[in-house]
Structures are given as structure tokens and as C-alpha cells.
Symmetry: C2
Subunit: 385 residues, 2 copies
């Protein structure tokens, strides 16, 4: 099995791109990543996307995006794991390089959510949950997360405002990220008085829907120095699943797939949570940040919110998270998010994160979640010595 490294990254700004369709967004990210790596071709492309069928009436994105990026003919398929599609595509790229079959691979996550002319977005996002056991009752995706948050607050005696730190940190960090959607700080008062979306989840607990694309170029570690950029090495890669239906989990407040995938990634990398310098976690809702920190070993059960309340998730804290704005403030183009997280981790490890830079970052973890925890992909990246 060969080691796998990232030799190029690219991204579009996250936002409402009314002037560009799915393929144009993907092209922008892919061409930037190829330019960053100094490559003019690739052997395969894995496209992470959730909603193209529902929103853009387009399936078959592998061949479409590869062709539009000037790579007609190469191996290309779409990978889908709901909001975890982006990192799942990187995981497939990792396997393809590790296998020895391909040497140069592009993984791109792309999502176009604003073209929702049919008003189908809420229903399409809910498809991440179990259609027969959950959606049949009329619940939305944010509704499922609201149930989890309410249960967490009840079970552990936590107030809604105790989650504020997640959102405040994300917005503060996004200010320094030119690709982020919301580059403005928020206050505790803003958080407390934000409009209610689905009790207890309010607007500032929630990441925004958005358009965007992000891409990485992978190659075998043994060849990584043949390219122009500073490589970053994938030292841990794991994907784990859980049941879609929350009612079917042994403990709805425990992200078993986060624990499983993180444990495998730590073991592969030979590290522990204490070694991680920054953690790009999947803060689709503030509750998911707390659950993710607990399942990955950064906090005890029921105590994840404290890291936010005590400022330990901020730059300089014990475990900086969402260092470039996270899903909350960078924006959450669902099938692209997992690749954005990895692009941001790479920029941190190359020392190119600008105003968002975490000093001396050597090890970064990125974790992308599909649905309310049914698919979780964890990658650990290491800076070049």
C-alpha cells in the first residue's frame, strides 16, 4: 500500500453564484488545484456531490466534470454520502492512489444549491435521513438536528447560549478567509437573539446553504516531491457508517461513526487527540460540533460544549476548530464541504492560511459528516518536515 499526499488545492469562494452552474464551479476549483500542483492532466477524478439530480436535473457528474475540466476520457465517477460526499470522494481518491492503479488523481466536491427553481431543496436535503422511517413522518433535516440538540440540553443540563462559542468562533475565523461566505464577527447577544429556525436551533446555530466547489490533487507520497508545491501527507484516512435512523442508535447523542473513523485514523497515523493542532469539524449545527468533539476524544461525554464556552476551540486554545470559518461561516455547499475542510487543513499545514494561520501547525484533522452521523469520514494530514 502506497502513501498518499496532497500536492495541490483549489477552491471557489462560497456563496450564491447566480452566474455560474455546477460545471463552472467545479472547473474553477479543479483548474486552481491543478495550477497549484503544477500538473496538466490526471488519471482519474472523483466528484463529491449530493444534490445535482434534485436541483440541477443532472446526474452523471463524473464524466461531465472531467470533460468540462479538459480531462475527457479519464476515469471519473460521482461519490455520494449525503453531506459527507466531499470527503468520501477524497477517500476514494486515496484508495485509488494507494492501490497503485492511478498516480495522479483529482478529488472535487461541488454543490449548486441556489438553482432551486422547484423549491425542492428542503426535501432533497432531508434525503440524507431515512425516507421510510423518519421522513415519512414529515420531519426535515434541521428538525432531526433540533431533536438531538434538545435531547442534549435536557440530558446534560446545558442551556442554549452555552453553544454560542461555536458560532462566535466560526464567524471570527471567517473574517480572515477570503473564500468564506460570512466574513463578519458575531456577538453573544447576536446569537441569543437570532431568529428561531427549529426550536432550539436558531439561525446562528445553523450553517447556510451555498454554492461552491473545492478540489485537491493527490499522488503517491514517493512521487510528491516531483511537483512544484509543498506536499501535505495523508497519514490517516477512514470512513465509518452508522444507521440513518436516529431512533435506531444505541445512544442518539453519541456519534459512533465519528468515534470509529477517528479511532482508525489516529491508529493509522500513530497519534492521539492531544497531537492534533487543529480540527476542521462538521459544524452544520452547533450541536454537531459538541458531539464531534466528544466522539473524537477531545472532551468527555456531555462536555463538548464546554470547550466552546471556555474558549478552547479558538486559535491558541487547546483544540482550534473551524479555523477558516467552518460550515457556519465559510458556508456549507453540502457535497463540497468535505473537500473545503481538507483544502483548509492543507493551507494551514503549508503555512498559507493568512490571517487564519495557526502557528506551527503540523497535524490537522478534518471530519466530514453525512446526515446526522450515518457516514463520517476522518482524515489526518501532516505537514512536510
Amino acid at each position: 500500500m502506497r502513501g498518499v499526499s496532497i500536492i495541490g488545492v483549489g477552491q471557489t469562494p462560497v456563496g450564491e453564484h447566480w452566474d455560474r452552474s455546477l460545471r463552472h464551479l467545479a472547473y474553477e476549483a479543479v483548474s486552481a488545484a491543478m495550477q497549484d500542483a503544477g500538473v496538466e492532466g490526471a488519471h482519474a477524478m472523483y466528484v463529491g456531490n449530493m444534490l445535482s439530480g434534485e436541483i440541477s436535473n443532472q446526474s452523471h457528474l463524473g464524466a461531465l466534470i472531467a470533460d468540462f475540466c479538459g480531462l475527457r476520457g479519464i476515469e471519473a465517477v460521482k461519490i455520494e454520502a449525503a453531506c459527507g460526499s466531499g470527503a468520501a470522494a477524497v477517500r476514494m481518491g486515496y484508495l485509488a492512489v494507494a492501490s497503485g492503479v492511478h498516480d495522479l488523481i483529482i478529488c472535487v466536491g461541488v454543490e449548486k444549491m441556489t438553482d432551486d427553481v422547484g423549491g425542492k431543496l428542503t426535501a432533497a436535503l432531508a434525503q440524507a435521513a431515512d425516507a421510510e422511517y423518519e421522513l415519512a413522518h414529515g420531519i426535515t433535516f434541521v428538525g432531526l438536528n433540533a431533536l438531538l440538540m434538545r435531547r442534549y440540553m435536557h440530558e446534560y443540563g446545558v442551556r442554549h447560549e452555552d453553544f454560542a462559542g461555536f458560532s462566535i468562533n466560526a464567524h471570527a475565523n471567517a473574517v480572515g478567509n477570503p473564500y468564506a461566505m460570512f466574513r463578519r464577527p458575531i456577538t453573544l447577544e447576536d446569537f441569543k437573539h437570532a431568529d428561531m429556525i427549529c426550536d432550539p436551533i436558531n439561525l446562528l446555530d445553523s450553517s447556510p446553504m451555498a454554492d461552491g466547489a473545492a478540489a485537491v490533487v493527490l499522488c503517491p507520497t514517493e512521487q510528491a516531491h516531483a511537483f512544484k508545491g509543498k506536499p501535505v501527507h495523508i497519514v490517516g484516512s477512514a470512513l465509518a457508517t452508522d444507521c440513518l435512523s436516529i431512533h435506531d442508535r444505541r445512544d442518539p447523542l453519541w456519534l459512533q461513526a465519528a468515534e470509529d473513523s477517528a479511532r482508525r485514523a489516529y491508529a493509522q497515523a500513530g497519534v492521539t487527540p492531544q497531537d492534533i493542532d487543529l480540527f476542521e469539524l462538521h459544524d452544520a449545527f452547533t450541536i454537531m460540533s459538541a458531539l464531534s468533539l466528544e466522539a473524537c476524544g477531545f472532551a468527555e461525554r456531555g462536555k463538548g460544549w464546554r470547550l466552546a464556552a471556555e474558549g478552547e476551540i479558538r486559535p491558541g486554545g487547546r483544540i482550534p476548530i473551524c479555523t477558516m470559518g467552518g460550515l457556519k461561516a465559510r458556508g456549507h455547499p453540502v457535497g463540497a464541504t468535505g473537500v473545503y475542510q481538507i483544502v483548509e487543513a492543507v493551507l494551514q499545514l503549508r503555512g498559507e492560511a493568512g490571517a487564519c494561520q495557526i502557528p506551527d501547525a503540523r497535524l490537522a484533522m478534518a471530519q466530514n459528516i453525512g446526515g446526522s452521523g450515518a457516514t463520517i469520514i476522518t482524515h489526518i494530514l501532516e505537514a512536510e518536515e
Copy 2:
């Protein structure tokens, strides 16, 4: 890079399964494949599917199907490449085993087309084509194939009835396959007088929509004899793409991705078309059979139809195709089809194809096509010595 073998296969009958949903169909195929292999677990699952979002309001099939099959927690994602999704999922499984990351993998293709309560199926299938350049004009997927067939007839001076042999062979072969949807022979007269669907494509040029699921269990070749069944070895595996838009191809009557993927598979296997004992090709429409035979080197350009007219595609002919009914008569549950083809090739190579058995079959090729040729996956399988 490790060799990869198939140690178990399973399938549901193809047809209209009004009593079973997507997950039940997948479970039936997966449990049959696991039983066939004599395994009780797996390290990963790749699910090929095209239409679950549109027709069943369900994305996120990887985790869903893995959990429903009793494999909660394992790595699992959905692979989509339009009608080529099934073989694309097998291709991903191949890469995952070859990589050394996973030892035991299940690839399952599943499609549920009859639950089309919203009447969305025709539009959903058309998403295999280019939404912005083709579908925007209102054309359907069968319409695109009809344009190709008309052009072929014009260009090479071929009559519609010259394609009859493809359909007659498929129906004749399906009689012996207990899993096939249409187990009845048809005649030349039937073919000539079938209802017109989209001129010149009539009902008997067309494969039927259907429900179904098929699964294979993969492991490293070096471990294949540790299991109870007779292994079949994947000696060639390749996936190639082309542009989605037919107008953008250099020659609309040439399946470049079929040529490319077949050439790579032949080279990997160290064989030529003359060595292939049977060919499970993608006869979604009769025209695709002709184009596939030409692009893969079984006939000269413009002469693929002659193999049908001269009976050379029948059992005992030069290159038997669709030996268990093909898409035409076994049925075409789109995202499952590519796995059905591979299951059938395995049965042939194990000598377990019953009334459909091709005597002394040693090398089989299976080719699955996404859209009108934009994603084409070719596998070459070899019988155990």
C-alpha cells in the same frame, strides 16, 4: 497492487417488485452473495445506484444498505455514473481491494424504478445526458438513442430489421435464466411489428425498466481459496469517460470510452477480443449493442449489426453476447445492471449458468455503459484453472 477475485454472487429476480423497497432488494442480493461466499461480514460496501433520490426520496444509500444488511459501521458509499453505476461500484471495490486497505468487500447494484409515484422516471433517466446542452431542448434519453440509431442506419445503409438479431438472441437466452424478467422467445415478425417508441426505436429494440439488485463479494486473489466457493478472477478492470453531449463527440457513432476501457482491460489481462468466450454487453437499445461490438474490436466500424444478422452473437457463435438475456430480456434496473452483468459472467465461468451455459467458458467480458456512452466500464473475468 494485489489481484482481486470474486468469491460470491447474489441477485434478485428482475421485475416489478411492488412488495419490496430499495433496501429489501439490496438485502436480498447481498445476503445471497455473502452466503454464496460463505462470509458473515465485510470491510466495506460500494452501492451502485442512479435513481434513489428521484424515485425513492432517499440518498445516502451506502450507510442505509450496509446497516440494513447487518453490516452497521463498515465503510460504505454510493457510486453513481448513470446507468453505469453498477459496474462503477465494482470498479471502486476493485480499487479498494487492490489498495491493500480492505480484504473483503461487497459491491451491490440496486434500483427501484416502479415506485415512480411522481411520474418522474423519464426525466430522471434523462439526467444521464447533458442537462444544459441536451435536455434543455426537451429530448428524452430514448430520443437521444433514436437519433444515434437513425444516424447509424443512414450512414451505413442498414435497415431497422437488421437489428432484430440482438433482441431475438437476448429473449432466447433469457428463457433459461430464472432471474430474467422476460422469459419468452420472440420472432423476427414480433420485432418488425412491435410498437414504435421513438422512431426508429421500437419496443423490442428497448430494454425494460425494472426493479432489482445484484451483488458480488470481492477479496484479494491470494486469499480467494480460503473461502468456500470457486473463485473467479478479475484480470482486467477499466473505466473510461467521454463527453455527455453527443454533439460534442468527434464521431457520434463511435463509443470512444468503450474502445478506451476495453483496450486497457485487454492489455491488463493480456488478451485480445479473439480470446473472449462471452461478452455481457450493454444492450439498453439494439443500437448500443452494435456500437459496443465495434468499439471493442469484435466487428469493423459499421458492421456490428452483421454479427447479429449472421447469428454470431448466439451461443456457439463467434462471440456469444447477453448470454442470460441481457438488458433487453433479463431487464434493466439501471444502477444494478452492471452488477447483474458481472454476476452472470461469474456464473458462466463457474459453469453454473444452467440452461444458459456457454460450454468451456474461460474468459468473459462485461461492459456497462452510463448514458449514451459517457461512462463505460469494462471488466474481464477469468475462470479458476
